[in-house]
Symmetry: C2
Subunit: 336 residues, 2 copies
């Protein structure tokens, strides 16, 4: 047990450790971003981290203010052809319908169970809401976590035939590690479900559950039949963490303005604007999916994650750095 | 800049540091809770921290799961004769009415401005909601922070004639420090306003804004006249962080069940129950205000923070440890 008291001997040893560690850092000349090609994007990241952690720099950011936020879908892992969580919900309809057979003849469940992809593509937002409510609520928090864990262990992406958690971008993992190694807290700020992402964020990205901001439904505190306290997920939306909801969610959960923010779509615009509006050093970056060979190239007609002309115009106007997947990334996935 | 890569030499130095620090902890024999009298409460805290951080103990808790939650009003600072935030809101009515003179003749503002304490005591919950909306919303997050900071710098508690931020319980500060020194994240889980408490929590308690869970209103993202992105506080309640709202708020913001929880009133019951319902080592404690000389002794007729007979029965039934302010605390405030 550490007694938490600054005995002089203790302090002396701490100083010694700090000196030893500083020495170790100086001597390690290894590239912190080995999956990145040299270029303006890599340079912007390395220079930002250097300047904001150098006490002599005018851009120095005190450790407590070092907050970096990352969108997830399309920014740190594959979001095509569908958001992973949507795949989860659609596949869960099968399981839910087994427990509640009456749903089999009710829309939109009937369409989902038919497996007819064309008909599914035509489902409305209202239909999707019904599917989300049926598959994401009505169980305890622990039951939900266990279900997602089980699904992630077996589900595979159709293109790579690998678990979804392997389809993370190696260059972005390196960025997150570099930030953390320099005293930054890395947060997800995702349109995806907060509870869904929390299940794997720590093991997959090194981001603990308390650093996941996402679209969040309410829970209800009560007691089970044995009198044990339980939290049940209920179909009431507290936060839609997309577009303006991103800075709003950041304020709700973090309560500080980030100094660095990474996104890839029009849904991240407000987060980047909010990050940029603070004083001092700022880093705003967008991942551009322009690599059809190794991943995907999104045209303006892509339904999700659109990196539209309008977003590119915003990026240019505001001086945000665009990451070209094709040119800036030496490798996309760890398994390559 | 730390490169964040595990070079072998770096690891060796880390091991060396760990050994040196472990040695330092063993040699420092200082009491980690000097403001506590020896007794079952102090013993419970010290033993819990020892057991949960000792790898050889069956009660060991891995570092990432070390979450300790603290109620604020009545648990870590004075809540009598009124919650500090309520004092703030009532005093702010004056300022708001200067900007909007039409409020001077409208209830409940008229009553508040009259200064008639008897009439004010009779205000309804609906009246209070109007006062909260008028004083806590309609401004940007930064404007609100600046106003609270300014108020805290001059406002004084009527009994001690000292700033409210000096009326924190020294023994509880020591508990928080002990937990943090042993790898715990300390969180506030308060019925008070999340944004209000965040203004001073870091300087006063060492708890950063992102570790404050409280009653939270929504914000609205938009742009000011110059086109600058702003977050405006709006009168829409997202989380009432009291009673069942406490475990619900913990799930929303932290996403993990605490292993230790401290409260003082019936509003903390559900948080303590939720904490206790997890597996492994657990610590649930309640501060009992039984010291009229040094602070306050609450009778069952006290309007706020009631440590009722019902709560004492709960504590006994569940094996929660009750902290007697009178007997367990050598000193209450740092200035004593």
């Amino acid at each position: 047990m550490n007694l938490g008291i600054g005995a002089v001997g203790h302090v002396r040893i701490l100083v010694l450790c700090a000196l030893l560690l500083a020495g170790a850092a100086v001597h390690a000349q290894t590239d912190p971003l080995p999956s990145w090609n040299d270029g303006p994007a890599k340079q912007a990241i390395v220079e930002f981290v250097r300047a904001t952690t150098d006490k002599a720099s005018p851009k120095f950011v005190p450790p407590e203010a070092r907050i970096a936020t990352f969108d997830q879908d399309g920014t740190t892992w594959v979001e095509q052809p569908m958001y992973t969580q949507v795949v989860y919900c659609l596949e869960r309809v099968q399981v839910v319908a087994e427990k509640k057979p009456e749903l089999k003849n009710v829309e939109p469940f009937k369409t989902v169970l038919s497996g007819n992809r064309e008909a599914m593509a035509k489902l409305s937002m209202k239909d999707l809401e019904k599917i989300l409510a049926a598959t994401l609520t009505g169980m305890t928090v622990e039951e939900f976590n266990a279900e997602v864990k089980k699904w992630l262990a077996t589900a595979k992406h159709p293109r790579w035939n690998r678990p979804y958690t392997e389809l993370v971008y190696q260059p972005m993992l390196e960025v997150m590690r570099l930030f953390r190694a320099n005293g930054y807290k890395t947060y997800f700020v995702t349109g995806g479900g907060q509870d869904f992402v929390r299940v794997y964020s720590e093991a997959t990205y090194g981001i603990p559950p308390e650093q996941v901001v996402g679209s969040a439904g309410a829970t209800h505190f009560g007691y089970d039949k044995a009198g044990k306290p339980i939290l049940t997920k209920v179909p009431k939306l507290l936060l839609m963490d997309d577009k303006a909801g991103k800075p709003e969610g950041i304020h709700l959960v973090i309560g500080r303005r980030p100094v660095a923010a990474f996104g890839n779509s029009i849904g991240d615009k407000e987060m980047l604007e909010y990050t940029q509006a603070g004083d001092g050093a700022r880093l705003m970056m967008l991942v551009h999916h322009d690599d059809a060979t190794r991943e995907f190239a999104y045209g303006p007609k892509s339904k999700i994650g659109t990196f539209s002309d309008a977003l590119m115009t915003e990026a240019r106007k505001n001086g945000w750095t665009v990451i070209s997947m094709k040119n800036d990334w030496k490798k996309v996935f760890a398994f390559e």
